[in-house]
Amino acid sequence: MTTDAFLFWFLALVTFISALGVVVFANPIFSALSLVMTMVTVAALFATLNAFFLAGVQLIVYAGAVMVLFVMVLMLFDLHKEKKAFTQGAFSGSVKLLLGGLLAGLIVGAVSMSKELYKAISDQAVTNSATGIESTKALGQLLFTQYIFSFEVLGILLLVIAIGVVALARSKGGTHVK
């Protein structure tokens, strides 16, 4: 087993467990912490894929900012441990579980059976794969040349959302009089 392989399997395992934790923990705080863990491992997986810049962003934006937001909100709400983490309905619940399983199974099965895709792409990858610094540079170049318009639009979107969120948060909870 190579280092790469070990790293991948280890990270995959941790990611899976922590993702599962997000879904199954009854206490939202634990879910949030599991999510942080998932973010971090996904960031690490990015790094194994040579996307160092994205790994950084993932850590800063997600694990840092977004998760802090979540945790803050949770703290703000001061939720008790919920008695029931899942919505009611045994039938619909099992259907949902089945659907989730089916979806995962279908994709996994499809991917595992597609040897050709793997081969064709991975052969190419060996020759074309760029190193970390280069990839960050290329990303920046792309962002500010080809995707400049989308980038700016995104900026405006963020601005709008920032204002909207502030407006929402300032409202006294709903439009109706109590």
Partner: protein
């Protein structure tokens, strides 16, 4: 004045009167309203006389005045002009209508003087005269039908004149609806004639009538004639549609005199006489007419025997006399029927007005059991009423004698007649004599049974003048139609003016044998004797207070009750026709309309609603369910792509 103007004035004068009095419907002055109305009808009367004189001056071959005003309705081949014809038949009719009409208007002035709606009353009366003139003058079936329905409408309005009394309003409605039944048949008859001959003009129709009569019951002509006759039974109160006429006595008495005795009810007879060539071509229909006429004459007379309301007695008498007219028409004696129509108009109008005078004197009391001995209080009324009584009896020399006798004779003698019809006719005459004498005796003769609080008094001059005029007419009116056998024994041998006058308009009865004078004398003698005998019996019964009538009624209790209940025909109609229809209507409404059709509609809408509700459960606002559907869709699409 030319004919057109004369006819226009004749027709429009009553209409103008209608409008004038109609617009002053709030006014209460009976003299003004009455004067306007009477003048208008009198103007018509003058026009009628002028026209009639014009008519007499014409040559006999084309003795007719035709006046056309405008085209009323023209669609395809159907053409109806608003045109009027004055010939031998309608010439007499307009004289009767406007003449008697004027007298009755005159009578009404005093009779209605304390009524608030007097202007309204006179406007209705004028409208009636207009419509009646329309009926008799119309030169085609459609104009006649316009008048036909118009008089029915006026009759409705006048019967229900005192509308705040529920039963009077109901009587008016009954009259109109019964008439409507006849009118519907009349319409179909008109359609058949039109489709058969392509015209509805009387002159053309009569000209096109086939000369060889058809004996087929299903021949269109027979059916058309029968349907027209049903129309006539409605208007002229024959079996089976006579029931409205006795109820129609709810109206003011002069109205009964004008509409329900003298003019409107004779419209059926007039119509058949008008179309006599057509009817002669359908002898089967005439047979039905004769039988119905005879039956009506007998049955109505029998009911008349036991009536106690003075106007009801006269009403049944009218029905019975109309039966005679139809009997005459039915045996082909159109001239005699028309003759009886005229004399009946005289004496029945007289008697109705006389009864009006009595009622007026008795302060609206109509029960003859509460009268008696009125002779000394109402001498003029009594005298004139007695003239009418003698006339209706058929007392020799009085008008009724000539006309009735002729019908009886023809019903025996005519090849279309039958001795049985003659017997029925005589039976009717005998009963008529009985109840009329009873009426006279109970009202005018014998002991006074007048309640203490009523003080009868003779009517004012405005009321008795018409009575006198009509009485004179009742007496002498028959002399213009003296039968041949009588004229032979009279000095100067007066000709039968009537027959001569009408001759060109009346179809000859085929195969009519020459009269056997001996036979005729015998039959006349028999009928007159029986009539006198019967009135004698009635006089014995009712002239003085007698036990006999009550004993008789006890002994024949069943028959008596049946007569008093008028053979329970009204009850039968109520049970057999009216109730089932109301029942049907209610059930159709509640069970078909509301419960079935509407429920089907609701079922449809509920079905859609239910389907919608089912579809809506999918969209219940449960976010996770939506997400589940999304996932489901994703799985399905994915598996479809992979399985392909």
């Amino acid at each position: 004045m030319d004919h057109q103007t004369l006819v226009a004035v004749l027709l429009l004068a009553p209409l103008v009167g209608f409008f004038i009095n109609g617009f002053r419907y709030r006014k209460h002055n009976h003299l003004v309203a009455g004067a306007i109305a009477t003048t208008m009808v009198f103007i018509s009367f003058v026009c009628s006389i002028l026209l009639f004189l014009n008519l007499t001056e014409m040559k006999e071959e084309n003795r007719r005045i035709v006046v056309s005003f405008f085209e009323w309705l023209k669609v395809g081949n159907f053409k109806a002009e608003f045109s009027f014809v004055i010939d031998q038949i309608s010439g007499i009719m307009i004289l009767i209508i406007t003449g008697i009409g004027s007298l009755i208007h005159l009578f009404s002035i005093e009779y209605m003087h304390h009524d608030k709606g007097v202007a309204k009353y006179f406007s209705y009366l004028n409208l009636f005269v207009f419509n009646m003139l329309l009926l008799v003058l119309g030169s085609n079936l459609l104009v006649m039908f316009a008048g036909w329905e118009g008089v029915g409408l006026c009759s409705y309005l006048l019967i229900g004149f005192w509308f705040s009394d529920e039963s009077k309003a109901a009587a008016g409605m009954k009259a109109f609806i019964t008439n409507r039944i006849g009118d519907a048949a009349f319409l179909i008859g008109m359609f058949i004639l039109f489709l058969q001959f392509g015209t509805i003009d009387f002159a053309n129709l009569n000209g096109l009538a086939p000369s060889t009569p058809t004996h087929d019951w299903l021949n269109p002509l027979t059916i058309a004639c029968l349907l027209l006759f049903i129309g006539a039974t409605g208007k002229s109160a024959q079996i089976p549609l006579y029931v409205w006429l006795p109820d129609a006595m709810a109206g003011p008495t002069p109205v009964s005199a004008l509409i329900h005795a003298a003019t409107m009810v004779t419209a059926g007879v007039y119509m058949i006489v008008r179309l006599n060539p057509i009817f002669m071509a359908a002898p089967n229909a005439l047979l039905v007419v004769a039988i119905v006429g005879a039956a009506t004459a007998v049955i109505a007379a029998s009911i008349g025997i036991v009536q106690n309301d003075i106007k009801k007695v006269l009403a049944y008498s009218t029905v019975s006399q109309l039966g005679y007219m139809f009997l005459g028409v039915g045996v082909g004696a159109f001239g005699s029927a028309l003759f009886h129509l005229m004399t009946h108009a005289f004496f029945k109008a007289l008697m109705f007005l006389g009864s009006g005078s009595v009622i007026h004197a008795m302060h609206e009391e109509q029960d003859i059991q509460k009268m008696g001995g009125l002779k000394k209080y109402l001498p003029i009324t009594h005298l004139t009423f007695a003239m009418g009584w003698l006339a209706i009896l058929g007392f020799p020399g009085f008008s009724g004698f000539f006309s009735k006798d002729e019908i009886l004779w023809m019903s025996y003698h005519s090849p279309m007649g039958h001795p049985a019809l003659w017997v029925a006719g005589v039976l009717g005459a005998v009963m008529t004599a009985f109840y009329m004498t009873r009426l006279m005796a109970l009202t005018f003769w014998g002991e006074s049974r007048v309640p203490k609080n009523i003080h009868p008094h003779e009517s004012p001059a405005l009321m008795w003048i018409p009575l006198v005029v009509l009485a004179i007419l009742s007496v002498i009116g028959g002399w213009i139609g003296i039968p041949h056998i009588i004229s032979e024994i009279l000095p100067g041998h007066p000709a039968n003016i009537w027959e001569h006058w009408l001759n060109p308009m009346i179809t000859k009865i085929p195969g009519l044998a020459a009269a056997n004078p001996q036979e005729e004398w015998t039959l006349m003698g028999v009928s007159v004797t029986l009539v006198l005998l019967s009135s004698g019996i009635a006089f014995i019964f009712y002239g003085k207070a007698s036990e006999l009538p009550s004993k008789l009624s006890e002994n024949f209790g069943g028959l008596y009750r049946l007569l008093v209940d008028k053979y329970r025909v009204d009850e039968f109609y109520e049970k057999a026709l009216i109730r089932p229809f109301v029942w049907l209507s209610e059930n159709l409404w509640l069970h078909v309309d509301v419960s079935f059709i509407d429920r089907c509609t609701h079922w449809c809408s509920n079905f859609v609603k239910g389907a919608g509700a089912m579809a809506r459960t999918v969209q219940n606002g449960n976010l996770q369910q939506y997400a589940m559907y999304m996932a489901l869709g994703l799985v399905v699409i994915l598996s479809y792509i992979l399985m392909r």
